[in-house]
Amino acid sequence: MRELTYLEAVREAMSQEMRTNEDVFILGEDIGVYGGAFGVTRGMIEEFGPERIRNTPISEAAISGTAVGAALTGMRPILELQFSDFMTIAMDNMVNQAAKIRYMYGGKGKVPMVLRTPAGSGTGAAAQHSQSLEAWMAHIPGLKVVQPSTAYDAKGLLKAAMDDDNPVIFYEHKLCYRTTSDVPEEVYSIPLGKADIKKQGTDVTIVATAIMVHKSLEAAEELEKQGIHAEVIDPRTLVPLDIETIVQSVKKTGRLVVVHEAVKRGGFGGEIASLIAESEAFDYLDAPIKRLGGKAVPIPYNPELEKATIPGVSDIIEAAKETLNRL
């Protein structure tokens, strides 16, 4: 099978969908000839034209609401927000409109839109262009939240997101864009709400999202050398969340480490830890649940400080060993 980068996989998912579904179009800032802030839509305007690869003014409030209105009336828009930090400006339309319209209107009307947006630190873009704010969106009933970590998952999950009749927030991690994996050429869909066990193991369960999946796999490799078999689970979607796969894993391993890049305080890891504490897996726990997340600080510019803000491979190794009393 051929390899694609995560970025190419996202683009391919959109292009394939747009070839068969006239209702799908993309709107966003600089997505035309420029190709988008990260180059995801590069080449698409040449194939699909400016009507469907719709370059917009710098007006996140307008373009997010326009996507909602277009979706409500029969289109299936994909909105690209240049940085997920700009969600603050689109927030009203996603939280007060997109998420609520169907329920508020008694089940009439639907808002089939995808908001794609790059998230995360590691690019030296500092405090206003590096955040991971997915917990905000996961908190809102009516939205779905997707966080692919691999090229394969990105293509399949984006297909599912585009097919979904609800507003889906699709977080693309910037550092994942250049990662590669085997990606089938044909169209395929990965259902929202299905976790993926990225590595089987028996000693400790590591639940990780986005770039932390890669760091956790690296950590698991190192742990393996020390005779510790970690199981790495990527929920892939926060809403809906496949908690069952995590429960089964924890029942097997008796230990849980949850790791995300987003600030630990109020982060989604707390939700996963709580769900496990409330579940039948609680009785199987042999150690307290460990949560790893970003420090409660705006992301700094200096590369060493930036790195220190979020969990690293060694932190994950240490946390896993701590649950095993192997420090």
Binding site: P57, A62, G65, G69, D92, M104
Partner: protein, 327 residues
């Protein structure tokens, strides 16, 4: 028809009786709602458009059935004018399953998507971008419909006003922004909140026409909105029509109206839109005094029936609570 009364081609003289009845349906619906709130028979809150009936009825009178509207928190009038039944509306305010939103939306969220009413909106300025998006669908799918976006004077100071109108203008979308300038944003007099006499002049910033009309004169409203709708339908883009009117009641159910004088209220009452319309219809020989009174009685009866319908409709069950969050 006499020479004096100019009607847009979309409005036939024979329809004027129905339009006059709509004015009364709105007035009497809201007075009934006001009474029920005062008696504690319905809960939550409501925003009444008593005194503003002409802008709703006059604007929507020139639409074709395929055209759409977005409404505001003060939206009962728009809803009735767009063809909603008072039964479904009253039932909604009573929180019953036969209401437009199955009792889950209430006064601020009534929508009638099938009839092209994309919904009232509890967020001031929430409709601008949604209307723009609906107009984008019309343009992209060549559906030929026009969207009327109702908003208040207060909403014109929201960022979404400027972002969405700019977007609608550059894309020449078939949307007409109807400002119902009722002089107050809650308690804030518009003369203190903007530094220009007319909101319509803001259209100049976006290269679109802006016209001020007497919002209490239903005929003036329909003629001006008709011009704007024609322009939109012909692919020439959006316009602003500002209907100067007056909110006879307070902002919501709990408003002592300390921010304005009783004299001012009396002055506006002299130009009550229903009285004005009846005067013209009688003067033009379209209706007799007796017919005018009879129409009011018919409307009154419909409202009474809607109350019975609402009272006799079932409450939702707790099983309905979690329904319709997702499509």
């Amino acid at each position: 028809m006499t020479q004096k009364l100019k009607l847009p081609p979309q409005v036939k003289e024979t329809e004027l009786k129905d339009l006059y009845k709509q004015m009364w349906l709105i007035r009497l619906f809201e007075e009934k709602v006001d009474e029920f709130f005062a008696k504690g028979m319905i809960h939550g809150t409501t925003h009444l458009s008593v005194g503003q009936e002409a802008s709703a009825v006059g604007s929507i009178a020139v639409l074709e059935s395929k055209d759409k509207i977005t409404s505001t928190h003060r939206g009962h009038g728009h809803c009735i004018a767009k063809g909603a039944t008072v039964n479904g509306m009253m039932a909604e305010l009573f929180g019953r399953t036969t209401g437009y939103c199955k009792g889950k939306g209430g006064s601020m969220h009534i929508a009638d998507v099938d009839k092209g009413n994309l919904g009232a909106n509890g967020i001031v300025g929430g409709g601008f971008a949604i209307a723009t998006g609906a107009a984008l669908t019309s343009q992209m799918k060549k559906e030929g419909y026009v969207v009327l976006c109702f908003f208040g004077d207060g909403a014109s100071n929201e960022g979404s006003f400027h972002e969405a109108i700019n977007l609608a203008s550059i894309w020449k979308l078939p949307v007409v922004f109807i400002c119902e300038n009722n002089q107050y944003g809650m308690s804030g007099p518009i003369r203190e909140m903007i530094n220009i006499p007319d909101i319509a002049t803001r259209g100049a910033s976006y290269g679109i026409p802006g016209k001020v009309v007497d919002g209490n004169d239903v005929f003036e409203v329909m003629n001006s909105v008709n011009e704007a709708v024609d322009r939109a339908r012909n692919g020439e883009g959006p316009s602003i029509v500002e209907a100067k009117t007056y909110r006879s009641k307070g902002h919501s159910k709990s408003d002592a109206k300390k921010y304005r004088t009783r004299d001012e209220e009396k002055e506006w009452l002299l130009r009550d839109p229903i009285k004005l319309m009846a005067g013209v219809l009688i003067e033009e020989g379209i209706l007799t005094q007796q017919e005018v009174e009879q129409i009011k009685e018919e409307a009154k009866k419909e409202i009474e029936e809607s109350v019975e319908f609402a009272k006799n409709s079932p409450e939702p069950t707790l099983d309905d609570l979690m329904e319709d969050i997702y499509a």
